[in-house]
Subunit: 133 residues, 2 copies
DNA sequence: CAGAATCCAACTTGATACTG
DNA sequence: CAGTATCAAGTTGGATTCTG
């Protein structure tokens, strides 16, 4: 499947039915769609990075959420964790090959959000003005 | 920006800094990343569709969540709502031009999820087996 | 038919304090 | 440095009931 096929695929086909197949896809959509996951994946693009450096690159994330997000991604096989037995401790994270395949969709989504944010905020303001009156 | 550029864009650039610009993009990522939003957007691809028909096409969604999701999308200017003054009432929804621009990223994401779900579930099982022992 | 309103259980997140 | 533990607060989603 190439990126060109994206335009011909349909949501019905991808998430069809109430069966296991569609359910897994729907679960994944929700699973990765939380506050930090896509952001963290994007920041891992450039290869191994330390925990503290990663925390600096994701503005606003708490220690707790970074740890939880990384553990979830590691469990799903998208992120690799390497811990070095030194003092002070050093732990590095990077994307697995599977994790790298998530990058294009994630960036497409982020790019869309950036390009559309202006119009969305404008529409939202219009809507609120219409409803409040 | 074309789809080809997606591979050259970087998450840093898109969501940079703690300033307003990056914050809006991060908020949007979270905003659209809930349980139903992308699914509903995908199901609206084929044009006007009634509330009840839409509910049938999104398996498992509750009345409440369908209503809330549609209202959110309408507020953001992604979905258009048309209500016909008939009895019984008829309300139709479809994507605005802005809403249509979300389709390619959403489908890219869903396509990725479908293609990767098998490996992810396998990795997850491995991880759990390793950790539980 | 297409919802609005209400209630509640479950989950998510952040802040804080502590540790190998 | 790289976490873990605990608690409090906020948010989300489902079930149910009611209505124009």
């Amino acid at each position: 499947m190439t990126t060109a096929d994206v335009h011909t695929a349909r949501m019905d086909d991808i998430c069809s039915g109430a069966g296991d197949d569609g359910r897994v896809v729907r679960d994944l959509l929700e699973h990765l769609g939380d506050k930090w996951t896509l952001l963290v994946v994007g920041m891992l693009e450039d290869g191994p990075i330390r925990y503290s450096e990663l925390k600096n690159r994701v503005p606003g994330i708490s220690q707790r959420m970074l740890t939880l997000t990384l553990k979830k991604l590691e469990r799903d096989g998208l992120v690799r964790r390497e811990s070095f037995p030194e003092i002070p401790p050093r732990v590095e994270y990077d994307l697995t090959p599977l994790g790298h395949t998530l990058l294009p969709p994630a960036l497409a989504f982020a790019t869309w959000a950036r390009g559309s944010s202006g119009e969305i905020l404008a529409r939202r303001a219009e809507f609120d003005a219409r409803v409040t009156r």
